[in-house]
């Protein structure tokens, strides 16, 4: 049976990228602990609106952990702390104690400027994808899907790499603000499959160059990214990316 808890939400308000920003607080009383964290924020917003105030702005959409839209830094951890990998929308109030103060901040990284409050601009990820995150096949050119056999192990590993949801928690957790886990997951997925192998070297170089250009830092193997990834991507992807990248550079 659900029990009710009361918490204080300490949330980040910032009116655009140039504003300095500050924390506001709001008391939430008697929230059933089977409420999701984002639903608790809905309740808070409803209360704020009823007081004539503007609601707290944050990104969210599918609320089932797959779209990658939700992006809150909760009590010092991207997406908040759970036992298995989970996104902000999969976090429930039973993870918090009665009377607790919950601090909510945006992803803080040079690569993700704040739009408003905790909504950030992650266009940089799209730009990195545009630099090379694809196979250059046009619609209608494909041969029969079973014409090239792919070992099950390779397909499964590619699938694990492809599970990245592009939320940006890895960047938010990294002290260098590096996007290596994101980039390496896409590079790995495509490098593991024969369809993507052809352009693997070019892709690795182009995506890394774009990442550097957009102001993301580099990887120093602290593994903070993998600890917070809601889809459990691992830094062995980064090792693979480094191999692809070095081989490509040596060939130049």
């Amino acid at each position: 049976m659900a029990k009710n808890i009361s918490v204080t939400i300490k949330f980040w308000k910032q009116n655009g990228p140039k504003d300095k920003g500050h924390f506001d607080t709001h008391e939430l009383k008697n929230i059933p602990d089977d409420t999701s964290f984002l639903e608790a924020l809905d309740i808070m917003n409803e209360e704020l609106i009823n007081e004539g105030k503007e609601p707290f702005v944050f990104d969210h959409d599918c609320r089932e952990g797959i779209c990658g839209m939700c992006s809150l830094y909760i009590n010092g951890t991207p997406h908040g702390k759970t036992e298995r990998g989970a996104t902000t929308c999969q976090l429930y109030m039973r993870r918090f104690k009665d009377g607790e103060t919950i601090t909510v901040e945006p992803w803080r990284s040079a690569g993700f400027p704040v739009i408003k409050d905790c909504m950030v601009d992650r266009n940089a990820f799209d730009k990195i994808m545009q630099a090379g995150g694809y196979t250059s096949v046009r619609t209608g050119q494909a041969q029969d899907a079973n014409a090239i056999l792919i070992p099950k192990e390779d397909a499964d590993e590619a699938m694990d790499c492809a599970s990245c949801i592009g939320c940006g928690a890895c960047v938010a957790a990294c002290k260098n603000g590096s996007a290596m886990l994101f980039v390496s997951s896409k590079v790995s997925q495509l490098a593991l499959l024969p369809q993507g192998r052809v352009e693997a070297a070019k892709r690795a170089k182009a995506m890394v160059a774009k990442m550097d250009e957009l102001g993301f830092g580099n990887c120093t193997n602290t593994r903070a990214c993998e600890a917070v990834c809601p889809k459990c991507e691992t830094i062995s992807n980064i090792a693979r990316l480094n191999r692809e990248f070095i081989c490509a550079k040596l060939a130049d």
């Binding site: 659900a2 929230i31 839209m69 909504m119 899907a145 499964d156 599970s163």
Partner: protein, 660 residues
């Protein structure tokens, strides 16, 4: 005078129609393609695949999405898989069989020609996605793996773990990214289409709102394609994402695009139940759970009351006091009856007071028997990830033993309840996917075309990608062929200015209501009205009452809405208010259509029209047509019905039977 709809279905035998069409359609030469601009609104499976394909062909594409990236579109959440008639399993599948299963699954309310084409291009989709690097599941020999889904006797579903939609969307998003890099697609993220601009009777552009700055912007093109998804969120609670809305489609409806079969709404039986009035959305639990789980409620009302009060737990109720109502009512199919049947049966029990949670709106899905039979390891092998997901949300682990009585182990049962999942109805389109407005096309879930009155599992992804990769890029050329002679339209034309002004005026109207109620509080009320009166079991009285309540709710919205902040800059509440305005009108359309359709078919169930055993009763004599609704110039006027008769050339229309 009533309008007449021309579905433009090509002549000739059904299996030859698409080939014939492609052989004789008009094409645009490569030079002229460079002069032609196409607006694509939406970046889900249909939108992203269409934008990428059109750009590859040489057209200039303007692609819009409301999220921060095209990859967020709700196609990403589809779990199960995608159908194709590859017959890799050598189990007798064929294009004809996929076509037949889809028409039958749709309760004989879809167009034969459209569905045949869908089945025909299904194989190309799989080839295309593999070439993009979509990591479909494979067998040890390196071949693609398949699984079975409801409504079929063959194994034709391709899948990527439980994340097929995600992988297919990322494939389309990759192709789209490639075209953005080539400069052929211009991408506008965090933009929302507010209206379509009509010049000389043709769709020639859109007015879009930059959601970050709040400014309205004008875009001109030679054709407009909307790929903006379904209207499931009309019901407030659904498995749709929070941002899913029908504003683009409803605005096109106001401008003259007809809306077809709005009453065909799919309700999925296995979702996690509503836990309270603060809930924001419903989470789907895969249909596959019904293979090994048994659905039940207590036999005794006093047990149900105790469960609702929390003084008793499900596992404490002995075997003889459990009512496995699906096995009781449908001995032949048991727990594996189709979605619509399972959903209605759950509602029937809960309506009688047998619901098992605090709200009285849930039934048990119990694995005790199968765990006893197969062992917990086997069951976890099959459903482990779903059990984890369920536990994360509800704090109950269905694989955990609760007690042992008389030597029998009882496990904590799951609780499930039906939820709105998909809308088969949508914008009316002809065979070319063109709406009743020339130059305006609708693809994916937002059109009505291929699923009839009920969609089969793993068919939504197939239709979205078929429309976007393989159908629209051809058919749109037939329209664009003679458009290249016209110069690009300036957005300074009076038609653009007038449309923008109308949108601006409407935004001012909403901002200036300055009432007392938040958008969400009115939206929740809309959801209650829709679920109660226009939901799973519909009656004439209920629908009439629903329509009355909807009109009253619109008045409440128009007079008592409160939007904080200003229209300048980002204003999430304003955007939600615009969506809600259109959900209310859409709700009325669903109710009008449901009221007029005096039969039960697929997702539309009228309680007056059922057999003695409580099964859906179709009326092919009087309702063998597509019900299309035409806007009458004002939200206050009832829309007018226009019928597009269905014409079956090869399939014999029959009754579906699940009892024996």
């Amino acid at each position: 005078m009533a309008k007449v709809l021309d579905s433009k279905i090509p002549a000739g035998p059904v299996p030859e129609k698409w080939k014939e069409y492609k052989a004789h359609q008009r094409l645009v030469n490569p030079k002229n393609k460079l002069k032609l601009d196409v607006i694509v609104v939406g970046t889900g499976l249909a939108g992203a695949s269409a934008a990428a394909s059109l750009a590859e062909m040489g057209f200039n594409v303007y692609n819009f999405c409301i999220q921060d990236s095209p990859r967020r579109a709700h196609s990403i959440a589809a779990q199960g898989g995608i159908n194709a008639a590859k017959n890799y399993q050598n189990d007798g599948d064929s294009v004809y069989r996929l076509f037949y299963d889809t028409v039958k699954g749709g309760d004989y309310r879809a167009r034969e020609a459209n569905v045949y084409r869908l089945a025909e291009v299904s194989n190309n989709i799989i080839d295309q996605c593999v070439a993009q690097g979509v990591p479909f599941a494979r067998e040890y020999g390196g071949m693609l793996a398949n699984r079975s889904f409801g409504g079929a006797q063959v194994s034709r579903t391709f899948y990527a773990k439980g994340q097929t939609g995600q992988q297919l969307l990322l494939g389309a998003y990759s192709s789209l990214s490639k075209e953005v890099q080539r400069g052929k697609v211009k991408l506008f993220t965090r933009y929302e289409m507010e209206d379509v601009v009509i010049v000389d009777g043709r769709a020639r552009g859109i007015i879009a709102k930059n959601l970050v700055t709040g400014k309205l912007e004008r875009f001109s093109a030679n054709a407009v394609v909307i790929a903006t998804g379904g209207y499931g969120n009309t019901y407030f609670l659904s498995t749709n994402a929070m941002g899913c809305n029908c504003t683009a489609a409803v605005q096109c409806f106001r401008k003259g695009a007809m809306m077809a079969n709005p009453s065909y709404v799919q309700i999925h039986p296995t979702c996690i139940p509503v836990h309270g009035d603060k809930q924001s959305k419903l989470t789907l639990m895969s249909e596959s759970l019904r293979n090994d789980g048994r659905i039940w409620v207590p036999k005794k009302l006093e047990d149900a009351k105790a469960l609702q009060a929390g003084t008793k737990q499900g596992y404490e109720i002995p075997e003889e006091d459990r009512d496995y109502y699906l096995e009781r009512r449908y001995p032949a199919f048991g727990n594996l009856v189709p979605r619509d049947v399972a959903s209605r049966a759950a509602k029937e029990r809960c309506d009688k007071g047998f619901g098992v949670n605090n709200t009285g709106l849930a039934v048990f899905l119990d694995f005790s028997e199968s765990i006893q039979r197969l062992g917990i390891d086997e069951i976890r092998q099959r459903y482990g990830n779903l059990f984890d997901m369920y536990e994360e949300i509800t704090d109950v682990n269905p694989g955990e033993k609760a007690c042992t009585k008389n030597g029998v182990d009882y496990y904590y049962p799951m609780m499930i309840f039906p939820a709105i999942h998909y809308t088969m109805g949508g914008v009316w389109v002809d065979y070319e996917l063109q709406t009743t407005i020339p130059g305006l096309f609708a693809i994916g879930e937002c059109n009505f075309s291929d699923h009839g009155a009920n969609r089969l599992g793993a068919s939504a992804l197939m239709q979205g990608l078929a429309d976007g990769y393989f159908v629209l890029p051809y058919t749109i050329q037939n329209y664009l062929a003679d458009q290249a002679i016209w110069p690009r339209l300036s957005t300074d034309l009076p038609e653009f200015a007038a449309t923008e002004k109308a949108v601006e005026k409407e935004i001012d109207r909403l901002m200036n209501i300055k009432g007392k109620r938040s958008v969400d509080s009115i939206h929740k009320e809309l959801g209650h009205i829709m679920w109660e009166h226009v939901g799973m079991g519909r009656t004439k009285e209920g629908l009439e009452e629903g329509l009355k309540l909807l009109k009253a709710l619109r008045k409440e919205f128009d007079t008592n809405l409160f939007i904080p902040g200003s229209k300048e800059g980002l204003n999430v509440e304003l955007d939600k208010a615009i969506h809600l305005r259109d959900f209310i009108l859409m709700g009325e359309l669903v109710a009008y259509d449901a009221l007029h359709r005096e039969e039960s078919c697929g997702g539309h169930f009228r309680e007056e029209h059922q057999t003695e055993e409580g099964e859906a009763k179709r009326d092919d004599e009087n309702f063998f047509y597509v019900g299309c609704w035409d806007y009458q110039g004002s939200d206050d006027k009832a829309p007018e019905l226009v019928k597009e008769p269905l014409n079956y050339e090869i399939i014999k229309v029959q009754t579906r039977n699940y009892k024996n």
